[in-house]
Symmetry: C2
């Protein structure tokens, strides 16, 4: 199949592109800069696509900042929450309608190149607190993808039944190097190890390494990050 795969540069979407390529699909990737302060992820996206020898289109939609307000990912005046996500802290990381915008751009690309499908790395751990991660929303967008043009295409979520830990295992199976992926929302040069998405990354590698001892987390974390032992002892909550 000819597939356009959304690629943020994070571990989920990067492993998805690698996995689709591994399965023999003709994969093109697309990444979107929408004003996220962690725009470093897109450099990782480009690097992974180059490693996988698949095309990467980087679409700069930075002007979208004019319509986004109140998300800590695009507005420096909103504090980035630290520690394991709970309902309130996660709400600060919502970018209004981001998923519909990303999917609509990927669908446009897929129509342009007559692809069979758009793939994205929604997974079982996606928090249902994000309204645009819900099953009901995915169903509607899938219908929209079939109605918006003469060229029909499917929206597919190959990882929808997988956890983030399963995704680490999948990357290991197909020898895709997760060192070339970026998760942190804090905007620094190394992963902070403290924000909600860093904690999920560390937990995923830890759980995967319990299943497959060969798996090690290759990520460089800031010196302010707690140790894995501390994190495990504190049930992945920050203590200070």
């Amino acid at each position: 199949m000819k597939i356009v795969s959304l690629l943020s540069g994070g571990m989920d979407s990067s492993t998805l592109a690698a996995s689709l390529k591994h399965e023999g699909h003709e994969v093109s990737t697309i990444g979107v800069y929408y004003g996220q302060s962690h725009d470093r992820e897109l450099a990782f996206a480009e690097r992974s696509a180059a490693m996988l020898e698949i095309p990467f289109t980087n679409v700069n939609l930075s002007s979208l900042q004019a319509v986004f307000a109140g998300s800590c990912l695009t507005d420096k005046n909103v504090a980035l929450p630290e520690g394991r996500y709970d309902e309130e802290s996660m709400k600060a990381t919502v970018v209004p309608n981001r998923n519909m915008i990303l999917l609509s751009v990927a669908i446009a690309k897929a129509i342009s190149i007559k692809a069979d499908a758009v793939a994205y790395a929604a997974h079982a751990g996606d928090h249902t607190i994000y309204p645009d991660c819900r099953e009901s929303f995915a169903d509607i967008m899938n219908r929209a993808a079939k109605e918006c043009d003469w060229h029909k295409l499917d929206l597919v979520r190959p990882f929808i039944t997988q956890t983030k830990e399963d995704i680490v295992v999948r990357a290991h199976e197909i020898e895709f190097n997760l060192a070339n992926t970026w998760s942190c929302y804090a905007g620094g040069d190394v992963h902070c190890g403290r924000c909600g998405t860093c904690i999920e990354r560390r937990e995923a590698f830890h759980l995967a390494s319990l299943r497959i001892p060969d798996i090690v987390d290759p990520t460089q974390y800031s010196s302010k990050a707690p140790s894995i032992t501390e994190m495990v002892a504190n049930d992945w909550k920050l203590t200070d």
Copy 2:
């Protein structure tokens, strides 16, 4: 109601913003530059919003050109068809998935400012050849607008039962000056009077003037435009 209204600078969306304001709604407008060669329309959008004393957000998504291909509106290598639209000539003017992208950006804006609705100027004359102008697509997007965030909003199409002629009459009723709107796709300094959208504009003014003789078309057309008498005699087809 607090409404975000998509404003391209054309006669339909400009009259819609004016009409919503006239009805007493709190209207914000949003226009998107997606690489259209007729970007002059956005200067008209800005001018109309200023005249109406309503906010206008101009979102520059010019990088979308990287995902659009094959449309004469965004690709200088594709010729702009002249004359009254037919199925084939109109297909060249389709920008892949444009409406989903525009709506998704307007929905993001509406969520950000907690608006009650997003309005757009789909009308009875919208050609069903455009897949993303079909009723089935509008229904799906309306459902998507209710599922993509905690904040629920409606997508509304106040002109959906109106023709372009009716829209000219509506502008006249509320004393909205259509001289400050732009239709032409040819990218020149004045309306070419020959492309499909110019011909629809001229026809709409002509039919409206038969109903209300006070209505005159204030548009300046190129010297290469045929006369109205010729157009009427030729059933709005170009003869040369």
